[in-house]
């Protein structure tokens, strides 16, 4: 599958809703093990909300090694590559079973240290 982002989204891959649109297109192909080529020619704007939904969301259902081997980014500039990589790294961190009490206890401990 080949997708021209300029045609699908426009020159700015920035908002979450557009990211969801891309996710809905690529997920079925990737889950069948097919290669997906995303061509960013003409795209100049990149922001994390778009990529969180477009590709970060893939990590919840597919193995990261599948995503890295089957999802290809063409003609994406350095800034876009940085955002993609940060999103993939962030999404790979496990978040199931978040222990809110532990988080709050850690923050309270940090707060107590400030008071001491």
């Amino acid at each position: 599958m080949k997708i021209q982002l300029l045609d699908l989204i426009g020159p700015r891959c920035i908002i979450a809703e557009d990211g969801q649109k891309l996710y809905d297109l690529v997920f079925p192909s990737l889950s069948r093990g097919e290669d997906v080529i995303l061509n960013f020619e003409g795209v100049k704007g990149f922001a994390s909300p778009f990529f969180n939904f477009a590709i970060g969301q893939l990590v919840s259902s597919l193995d990261i090694s599948v995503i890295r081997s089957k999802l290809h980014f063409l003609n994406i500039n350095e800034v876009g590559k940085i955002v993609v990589e940060r999103v993939l790294e962030n999404s790979s961190i496990q978040t199931t079973g978040v222990d809110f009490r532990k988080i709050v206890d850690e923050l309270l401990a940090m707060q107590q240290e400030e008071n001491d």
Binding site: P11, R12, I14, I15, A16, K44, G45, F46, A47, S48, P49, N52, F53, G56, Q57, V59, S60, N77, E78, V79, I82, V83, R86, V87, N90, S91, I93, T95, T96, F100, R101, I103, V104, D105, L107, L108, M110, Q111
Partner: protein, 294 residues
Amino acid sequence: MANPVYTIIKIPNINELSADVEFIAALFSCLKHPHASIFYLDFAHCKFLGPFAVAALGAFIRSAIDHGKSAPILWQTLDRKVLSNLCQNGFAGSFGHTSPPWGGNSVPYKEYKVQDLNSIMSYLNDNLLKKDWINFDENVKEAICGRLWEIFANAFEHSKSLVGVFSCGQQYPVKKQLVLSVVDIGVGIPNKVRNFLDESPRTNELRDHVCLQWAFRSGNSTAATVRVKRGLGLDLLREFVAINNGSLEIYSGKARAVADRNGLAFEETRTFFPGTVVNFRMLCDGRVYKFASS
């Protein structure tokens, strides 16, 4: 019918962000007064209004109206230079003054009730990163705008502001700096974080600046779900200002965060700001901007 109770608010001459935020926070607390319904804004003692003050005053006036009150500007009290600046950036025109805006060193005062991507990106591209001020290529401009978009995206998504999001900026040619202030009047970051962590019974013991610190950690987000990890926006911005010698100053609730090349610092403030202020400062001295630390 009882006569409306009015108050005259004397806007002082302040040119330092933390003092500005304190004053504006106190201003917003006046809105809670059950009997006062008209707040006249008197600028007789004001010789300078920075971009944060302009954005925040706009937010205050709209909030007053939203509360069924009013905050009329006493135009005749304005210093000539201050009035000229307010006309230039469009603030005056937004509140009934007849003078239309014009170019110059101001970045226009804007109010956004909804997240309008094209309008905001056009604002950032054409007004903030003007060709006359900064000479870099389109890709770099778009890259910076992409970073700045994160400020607006956060404001729209998280604030639940009834009156929208307000912005204003300024170019300082001598200092070779650009400043953009974005203000929302809403839930505030600390309250959002507490609501998110609400499963713990001790959440209410968390102080605002500790909540803000949690929000800044890469990957933390009150909007994240199991399917979609979020929480990169603030960190990407922090990284950008750190490696390009800019700064990011955020006030929310009783918390303040400052990010610059020296790192990230958090503190508790004396007053409570009912929403979030993001003050972004970058150098425009002909440097080559970087987008990731090597």
